[in-house]
Amino acid sequence: MDQLVTFAEQWIWLVIALPLAGFVFNHFLGSRLPEPLAGVIATLASGSAFVVALVAALPWIDGGRHGVTVELWDWMPSIGAEFEILWDPLSIAMTLLVTGVGTLIHLYSVGYMHGDGRFSRYFTYLNLFATSMLILVLANNFAMVFLGWEAVGMCSYLLISFWYTKPVAAEAGKKAFVVNRIGDFGFILGLVAVFAFFGTMSFDEVLVEPGAVLDQNWATAIGIAFLVAAIGKSAQIPLYVWLPDAMAGPTPASALIHAATMVTAGVYLIARSAAIFDLSETALMAVATVGALTALWAAIIAMGQNDIKGVLAYSTISQLGYMVVGVGSAAFTAGIFHLITHGVFKALLFLGAGSVIHSMGDEQDMRKMGGLLKKMPVTGWTMAVATLAIAGIPPLAGFWSKDEILSAAFNRGGYYQFIWALGIITAVLTAFYMTRWFVLVFLGEPRWDSDAHPHESPGVMTLPLVLLAVGAAVIGVINTPWRLGFEHFLEPSFESIHLQHAAEGTIAWVIAGIATIGAIAGVAFGYLTYRNRERKERFERGASRLLSGAERGFGVDGFYGKRVVAPLAATAEASARFDSKVVDGAVNGLAALVAKAGTALQPLQSGFVRSYGVGLVAGTLVLVVWFVMRGV
């Protein structure tokens, strides 16, 4: 074991360096390679990072071992920000998720991006994305987190607008970037506050005993600032609007952004700063409230979506809401647990959706699908697993993590039992809309356009699906009420924190029972409603106002457009006018003045040495007079 710890200390930098090397290699040479090679290299880079991380993680698997820090080089010593890796259970969990799921997505992309003109460029971005996310999760100080944070933001922009010739994709990339800036602003405020109080950004000093430095009000302030950051990055109310639009990117990129990497960064940030949130009940309540409202709101919208990826996008927002509820209930382990399970089954769902879109010839409207299970058995059955997993049907992964979050919230009591109630409602809705999604796509009568020829995807795409489906089925067992392996594993990262644990005994059974009954009811209602055309139409007529509102996302985008974007645009235009008229006018006027003065003075520059001599002597005279008057 000690040898493995040494291995981790010596070689952990490879986890960041390998994807980075893949990025550099593909950036410079990728376009010269024959098509699959760039993808294979990127996959190998990511995969070997996963292997290194796995080996380095072995000593920690049993739990109870503290993290190690590895300083790679001095970066900004004066603010306590070295380039330093923190290898503790929390970062191990995140790293394994990012590299593991990331590798499968890389592999899948080799098939999905087949024939794209910018094949190698896509993998360049993918590797850079993985690198950035690994910098974020492996950082040992807030400055490095911020570096990774901004880098994933940039990569998400590159990937969402990967097909930048499509106006929708270009717009979506811009939107994601701009909306994320608002969250980044919160992050920067938090960073400044942390630095102002602690004089350093290093986790070693900030997170050990922040209570000695911060009073409760400032802990709340910093917590709220980090919450704003998480709201932006993890797509919570009110900044979630970028995520549905981000579906314009290639589907595997969506899987990477919305399952394994970027959106989890906000949850990770809150979990990592647990010591600060631990000081402030107010901040935690704010976090939990935002999470619960987001979960419910996004679930309602997801019910009305007709785009195969749109449902998944809102479902991601909703599930992120669960994670935020988890960390907001101080059940940080539960939040991270759900982050992991969700990372697996949501990646699976996106990749499955990608497989469907791929075989349907870029058709994304679920109303033109149906009956695909026969045509695409592997995709269909893995999606069935994923649907049941996200719906929270035991014993699949989603059940365990969602139940633990809800149980912890309930167990915390008081206000949090209201949060729990919202969570249960959301769980029912989740089961319903995911079943609707599955039924519309895979069951029922085929409603394809005549020129669609659905077919099963190639092995390079189905292999990741199968692997992820196995993961979605069994990964829940790492943390069950009977054996809290994952919680025990994470505990060293949350040592000094008052962790909220899930309920035990009879209450646990009751809560789990309610959740399960709710999930089964949701699935059953969804299946029965959408399997039968008559009932479906009756339901859609009955709930038409809700559904049509949900389909449009309740006009939130329009509202933002009118109330936020338009006034800003008007201000910008006014500023532009001010700039072109007043500022430019002043500058141009000055330039014109200089030009005129030059023309006026031109005769003085005669080229006659003797004329210059007169001036010289006159100047000397003035100087002499001045000297005399000064009284030399």
Partner: protein, 174 residues
């Protein structure tokens, strides 16, 4: 008494030479006027006991520099008689103006007594401008500037050689 005589005679010579310099139409006469001024100044230096400087004045200025001037005058056309009519508009007025202003200023300063300071050197021990005294001061207190001037002279001679070596281009480049 003798100093007054020397001052009046040599001073008048210097002024006469200077006026010749700027008024003569022919450059050779100008050079001769300059020569006269230089000699007159050397005489004044001697009367101020600046023997070494006076010697250098004669040897270097009158001997070397003026010879160089005469060489160049011969080289670029000894018979070039300058047209004294002014061609630059306003130049003559300006020149007369500043020259008059300078003269008036000098006169004003002289009358204001700014130069009539207490004479300290005379009567007690006159300043000894001998070679020994000057040399000692030069090589003790002023040795660094002295060495720097040697560098200056080398640079100047290299520059002169360089200017002489450059061949004019074939055509006037205008």
């Amino acid at each position: 008494m003798s100093e007054l005589v020397i001052f009046v005679v040599a001073g008048a010579g210097a002024l006469a030479g200077a006026l010749t310099l700027i008024l003569a139409k022919h450059p050779v006469y100008s050079a001769l006027g300059m020569l006269g001024t230089l000699f007159s100044l050397a005489v004044l230096y001697v009367s101020q006991l600046a023997h070494f400087v006076a010697a250098v004045q004669v040897v270097v200025y009158a001997g070397a520099i003026m010879t160089l001037f005469l060489f160049v005058i011969m080289l670029i056309g000894v018979d070039q008689v300058e047209d004294t009519s002014e061609t630059i508009r306003g130049q003559r007025v300006g020149a007369i103006g500043v020259v008059a202003a300078f003269a008036i200023l000098s006169g004003y300063l002289w009358l204001s007594g700014i130069f009539s300071w207490e004479v300290v050197g005379t009567g007690t021990e006159p300043v000894n401008g001998s070679i020994e005294a000057t040399g000692q001061l030069l090589f003790a207190e002023w040795v660094l500037p002295f060495e720097v001037t040697s560098l200056l002279l080398i640079v100047a001679s290299v520059g002169a050689v360089g200017l002489a070596l450059f061949k004019p281009r074939k055509a006037e480049d205008e």
